[in-house]
């Protein structure tokens, strides 16, 4: 390591102060923007994948005339007879459009506020009085729902409009803990009977049936069997959901990657353009160095150190700013692009998910290209005869 050469390279950066500063600034902003986006999308993906294993392994739904309809409860027995199916649970859930605020609530029914749920409820619901809940038919709502209702002057109760036009008044017992906001924000949880009444559903029909499979290896086989057994069904496996998430967020970050690539190329074109028409001052300098007995690779080494210092410092600063911006400031503005502009916006913390792969990708996408864009034109000048450059 020739520390004189490094010293020379760094003082060269300082001699071209304004230009170096500008390059570092642009480079840093580029890295900052891109890594912020990748961090956000990583975080949200991470969030989804955390809970993926708790989801039903197979969901069976019914299609009629290409649309979803409710599935007959009688199918459960047939599903249970399939080998490998441990349990089949009917579910009732759906959306309730609250016209006044223009938002959709997701209403989910559970058997009843049974003793078996007591422990789980204590974990996820804010100070809940379980017996009270059990006695009066009441509901537990997400924080977002609670907020929207409050804004519309519903304190502690809400009137659902049934399909026949009658009102159904239900008490709000409690809200979910804010730790679950990202999942629970728009959820209303209540006993099944109430959900059936609000949706006006037939008693022997349910929204879908979820299956528990003893051996995860068998999921694809069982899914296939169900499809054969009920040709009108839509069978969704756990891995389908995973792929689906992956797609949607890859799509979003992909759009940004495309934007980034355009801006990155513009940036490198500018750098290349500027460098390939090296200013006469810089050309003269290379000529002087060559005349003084510098070899081509000495000149290139100095240029390499310069480019490396610029790009590496920009990279570090950009990533650090992005970490701070995303995980400490919670990515104002940028987060909206990923979580959308729905009116039921959850308040949540992006979970920290540090992905070395992303960083490596970013590193190798930017730094070598920048260094090449600096070195190649310098090499062209340096490989000319020394006296040519000086004249």
């Amino acid at each position: 390591m020739n520390h004189f050469l490094i010293g020379f390279a760094i003082s060269s950066l300082f001699r071209r102060g304004a230009k170096s500063f500008f390059t570092i600034f642009i480079f840093t902003s580029l890295i900052f923007l891109l890594s912020s986006i990748l961090f956000i999308s990583n975080s949200i993906k991470e969030e989804l994948f955390i809970t993926l294993k708790s989801l039903p392994q197979i969901t069976v739904q019914k299609l009629q005339a290409g649309r979803h309809t409710n599935i007959e409860i009688s199918k459960i027995d047939k599903l249970l007879k399939l080998n490998g199916v441990q349990s089949a649970i009917p579910r009732i859930w759906g959306y309730y459009y609250f016209e006044k605020a223009g938002v959709n609530f997701s209403i989910v029914g559970i058997d009843s506020f049974d003793k078996q749920y007591k422990k789980s409820f204590e974990a996820i619901v804010k100070d809940v009085d379980f017996d009270e809940l059990y006695k009066n038919n009441s509901m537990i709502v997400g924080e977002g729902v609670d907020k929207v209702l409050r804004e519309n002057y519903y304190q502690g109760v809400f009137n659902f409009i049934k399909p026949d036009g009658e009102l159904k008044k239900i008490k709000i017992a409690s809200t979910f803990k804010s730790a679950t906001a990202l999942e629970s924000n728009d959820i209303i949880l209540m006993p099944k009977d109430l959900v059936l009444e609000i949706f006006g559903m037939n008693k022997n029909e349910v929204t879908d049936i979820v299956l528990e499979i003893a051996n995860p290896e068998e999921i694809p086989t069982i899914a296939k069997k169900i499809k054969n057994l009920f040709p009108d069904s839509k069978v969704i496996t756990n891995s389908d959901l995973r792929v689906s998430y992956q797609n949607i967020f890859d799509y979003k970050s992909g759009m940004f990657l495309a934007l980034f690539i355009i801006s990155a190329f513009t940036f490198f074109m500018i750098v290349y353009d500027k460098a390939s028409g090296l200013s006469s001052e810089e050309k003269r300098e290379i000529g002087i160095l060559k005349a003084l007995g510098w070899k081509i690779d000495d000149v290139l080494k100095a240029k390499f150190y310069e480019a490396f210092v610029v790009s590496f410092i920009s990279f570090l600063v950009g990533v650090m700013l992005a970490l701070f911006f995303v995980y400490t400031l919670q990515a104002p503005l940028l987060k909206d692009i990923f979580i959308g502009y729905s009116r039921l916006k959850p308040v949540f913390d992006l979970p920290f998910a540090f992905d070395f792969q992303t960083l490596f990708l970013l590193f190798f996408l930017t730094i070598p290209i920048y260094i090449a864009a600096i070195i190649i034109p310098s090499w062209r000048v340096a490989s000319m005869n020394a006296d040519e450059v000086m004249r």
């Binding site: 004189f4 003084l292 007995g293 081509i296």
Partner: protein, 224 residues
């Protein structure tokens, strides 16, 4: 020490603006000799100097310096050769104006990664010799013409070269400074270095310590 064998140098060969700078030059300079190349501008002095310093290569002929055929060496070797053997004082000094005197002087040593303490000692020696110690950290753009030239000479001497080449050294100096430069040359001559000076300044033609004055015209040697 330096041998030019049938040197011809053509610029822009086979192009419309082809120009022959040197025609069939034969010249021998012995070790320790002080030679003055004399001639009007455009007579080919500078081209000859750059060939000797291996900054460019002759179109025809061979250049042998210190028993090395520099005209046949690949680029990287000529760079090494220049660094080790030749101190070049350029007409316009060719200093990097945004660096300090010290940084300019050590430029030729950087690729060989010198020892810092020894280097500092050597630089201080040279600064003292040329009386610019107080300007060590000054930027070149803040120095006067004479000071700049002394920095350029110090830079040419930093690697202790056997051969010193000066191209029009007094062109930008007044008479007093020119005389000072001649004193420096005299000292270098006493150190038994081979010195080649290209100039059209009459001050150099009648010095007692000059071994030979060679006159050039239109790329040819007239007399020596």
């Amino acid at each position: 020490m330096i041998e030019c064998k049938n040197i011809t140098k053509v610029f822009n060969q086979n192009k419309r603006n082809e120009q022959t700078a040197l025609k069939n030059i034969n010249l021998e300079i012995k070790s320790g000799e002080l030679v003055v190349l004399k001639g009007a501008s455009g007579s080919g002095k500078s081209t000859l100097l750059s060939l000797i310093a291996a900054l460019s290569k002759p179109t025809i002929g061979e250049m042998v310096v210190d028993d090395k055929r520099v005209s046949k060496m690949p680029d990287n070797f000529t760079a090494m050769f220049r660094r080790q053997n030749i101190g070049f004082i350029f007409q316009k000094y060719n200093l990097i104006s945004t660096l300090s005197s010290y940084e300019n002087i050590i430029l030729p040593t950087i690729p060989s990664n010198p020892d810092e303490i020894e280097l500092d000692k050597r630089v201080d020696e040279l600064l003292k010799m040329f009386d610019i110690t107080s300007k060590k950290e000054s930027h070149i753009k803040n120095l006067s013409g004479g000071e700049q030239q002394r920095v350029a000479i110090a830079r040419a001497l930093i690697n202790n070269p056997k051969i010193i080449i000066a191209d029009e050294p007094t062109a930008n100096l007044d008479e007093k400074l020119s005389l000072e430069f001649i004193d420096i040359i005299k000292e270098l001559k006493q150190q038994k270095r081979t010195i080649i000076i290209a100039t059209h300044d009459p001050l150099f033609f009648n010095l007692d310590f000059v071994d030979r004055v060679i006159e050039m015209k239109d790329g040819q040697i007239l007399c020596s």
